[in-house]
């Protein structure tokens, strides 16, 4: 059981929250101009990070507000809580395992400036930063 520090309510049990998936996935500015492949990449492809991961949570049985969280997917260590719309906090000393689409895009809830960055979801980009034990 995680003890999640809600920015409004303080620490609460994980069961009071719902998970919102990867944070900082900008909505495409012109969805109609995307190919089916690009659109499906935006809809369904998310990074499967080993290490620090930016994700969205909602305190569904408490204040019902969304927030972003930096969490280590290995140790479950919660490293930062920050509001929706805020950029991902710069974490010095984090491992190089994060190569996903959790970009520094300013806001996951507003329109992005371009087509989604899907590089992190392709297999080839993971060559240099693949975590130990990752499938080749």
């Amino acid at each position: 059981m995680l003890l999640i520090p809600c920015p409004n309510c303080g620490p609460r049990d994980e069961t009071e929250f719902h998970y919102g998936g990867q944070a900082h996935v900008p909505y495409p500015e012109n969805p109609n101009e995307l190919s089916d492949t690009e659109w499906s990449r935006y809809l369904f492809y998310r990074s499967n990070t080993k290490g620090t991961f930016a994700e969205r949570w909602v305190h569904s049985t408490g204040c019902r507000q969304w927030f972003n969280m930096l969490r280590d997917t290995v140790s479950y260590d919660i490293q930062a809580i920050y509001p929706m719309g805020a950029p991902r906090p710069d974490r010095a000393g984090t491992t190089g395992a994060e190569s996903g689409t959790a970009s520094l895009a300013a806001d996951s809830t507003t329109t992005g400036t371009a087509a989604p960055d899907i590089s992190g979801t392709s297999i080839s980009s993971a060559t240099t930063a693949a975590p130990e034990g990752a499938t080749k």
Binding site: C9, T15, T61, C63
Partner: protein, 216 residues
């Protein structure tokens, strides 16, 4: 039907008549609550048909200030309860509040609270919604009330942390509910109507051990 005919006090005033035909969400547990309560240890009862109004207004806005003037203040943060007299305002979120008032405050019984809140909001962005039928109210009192709640609630309910006059939106018995500590040994629990019977039976189950002599 037979119960209605045998009712010892026939309805007289419009208020009584209105309430006599209504069935509260935990009506089926009334006898079980009476049987499961232990005077001086832990007692449970339903307070049916309290007037509840959901408020949405951005903190600090003009509408919020006008609504605060009607209710006697709006709570500032998590856990806070504001209000004046028998009208209380519970904090649900940064811009979301729940007004709890006696049954008579409802407009179907001639009360003016909800209309006053609607007038206070006016045309501004926000919400004033009658939620009286959304939740019911359990009152849990007695020295063991905290122990009963602790079986199903992960909040720190120790009086050192959880003071009278605070209310939290949390989970009790794995269902979402509001928990309001109204006194040193009295709590109000607000489950949604559809969860009322479940939570009532959960609390009764948690109270059962106190009916038996303590095992040394």
């Amino acid at each position: 039907m037979a119960e209605t005919a045998a009712s010892p006090t026939p309805a007289k005033t419009p208020v009584d008549k209105d309430l006599a035909v209504r069935t509260s969400p935990a009506e089926v547990l009334r006898d079980a609550f009476a049987a499961g309560s232990l005077a001086g240890t832990v007692e449970i009862s339903e307070l049916p048909f309290l007037t509840m109004v959901g408020i949405r207004a951005a903190a600090g806005s003009d509408a919020a200030q006008r609504i605060a003037a009607v209710t006697g203040g709006l709570p500032a943060g998590s856990g806070a309860v504001a209000g004046s007299g028998d009208t209380s305002v519970l904090w649900l979120g940064p811009a979301e509040f729940l007004v709890v008032a006696p049954t008579e405050a409802h407009e179907s019984l001639g009360g003016g609270l909800i209309q006053a809140l609607r007038d206070a909001l006016g045309g501004d962005s926000g919400q004033v919604v009658d939620l009286s039928a959304n939740r019911t109210t359990f009152e849990l009192t007695g020295p063991q009330a905290r122990s009963v709640l602790e079986k199903g609630c992960s909040l720190d309910l120790h009086p050192r942390v959880f003071k009278p006059g605070t209310a939290y939106s949390t989970e009790i018995g794995n269902i979402p509910a509001l928990l309001w500590k109204t006194g040193e040994e009295s709590f109000r629990v607000f489950p949604r109507a559809s969860f009322a019977e479940f939570l009532g039976r959960w609390l009764l189950d948690g109270m059962r051990e106190y009916a038996s002599p303590e095992v040394p």
